[in-house]
């Protein structure tokens, strides 16, 4: 199928503005998933005993949905601060992958650009802008694409958090809105479970999360996460070895 983006003439000299708006437009469909998630976080933050300001500013300071949910849940459970911080850090280490994968396209930029784009490098913005970097011809303003996708995501996340904080108190418990958190994560995880290693990671993490419930300080979460990562990594490695020897 002919694709305008793959034709060098079409996009080699896209202006900064058109790169920016392309990033915004391509990011738009993901906002339907991000906005309810941010709203749920805003509600949950207050329920966990965070103040409105703590909840709202966490969305700028951490700017990572799953890690913010975990922060709020562990904080509400009275878990020691060091374990809260450690759990959040483990969850967010995955960004190193995005950073490594996108570095080749951004490394030439001035420091202030790399700091800004680094801050905006979330799962969702990465997923959209790496496609442009890899599949469309390079252009002098291509970093504006990530600026567009990242800024749309950032803005939606902040506003949906604030909205959640504002309406949170008015939503009755019978609506079971906190169930939206596992549902959000099901929407992310179910479609990406593809290989046997993926399934091993999920099964191990889920099992440890249940069996580890008696552990103090909600350590089940971090134990299950690390156990799942190890299981996936091991099965992956065994598969590769089996493939290499057969």
């Amino acid at each position: 199928m002919p694709n305008a983006q793959n034709s060098p003439k079409a996009s080699q000299n896209l202006s900064a503005r058109s790169e920016f708006w392309a990033g915004v437009c391509e990011e738009m469909p993901l906002i339907f998933g991000v906005a309810p998630f941010g709203l749920v976080f805003g509600v949950l933050g207050l329920e966990s005993g965070l103040t409105p300001w703590q909840t709202i500013l966490m969305s700028s300071i951490l700017f990572g949905g799953a890690s913010q949910i975990v922060f709020a849940q562990l904080w509400a459970a009275g878990v020691p601060a060091l374990i809260v911080g450690g759990s959040v850090c483990v969850i967010n280490t995955r960004h190193v992958l995005y950073s490594a994968s996108i570095a080749a396209y951004l490394r030439h930029l001035p420091l202030r650009w790399r700091i800004l784009l680094g801050y905006l490098l979330t799962d969702e913005a990465y997923a959209i802008s790496i496609r442009r970097f890899q599949h469309a011809p390079p252009g002098p303003h291509q970093h504006f694409h990530l600026l567009g996708s990242g800024m749309l995501l950032w803005t939606s996340w902040q506003f949906s958090t604030i909205f959640g904080v504002l309406v949170g108190g008015t939503i009755p418990d019978s609506w079971s809105l906190s169930f939206a958190i596992p549902l959000t994560f099901i929407a992310i995880v179910a479609p990406i479970l593809k290989t046997r290693a993926d399934l091993a990671a999920a099964a191990t993490a889920g099992t440890i999360a249940i069996l580890g419930q008696p552990l103090p300080w909600n350590l089940w979460l971090i134990t299950a996460a690390i156990g799942g990562i190890l299981a996936g990594w091991l099965v992956n490695r065994l598969n590769h070895q089996a493939g290499a020897t057969s």
Binding site: I102, R107, A209, Q213, L221, W233
Partner: protein, 104 residues
Amino acid sequence: MIWFIMIAAGLFTFATRFIMLSNGISNRPPPWLVDALGFVPIAVLTAIIVPAILIDPADQTIALWDNPRLFAAALAIIAALVTRQMITTIGVGIVALWVLQWAM
């Protein structure tokens, strides 16, 4: 204290995003680390999903057959696999939970 932890974790998170853009590190991370980090989302999110579905919030015990969240989650998984849309998945799961709580 909470601000300290939040800002420290925020700085760490920024560092994970910025590290490979910093020009201080020119090599990609070693392949074993790339492999392991690839499993972080599945492991972390599943670890959050499973107890949120199976542990009864009222008495902290494991609930199976008399658990509307389990069946609502099963429908949500099907919705996620079929539609791959977050909003549909959340909608199916929440509505299923309401109906099941009303019916069970």
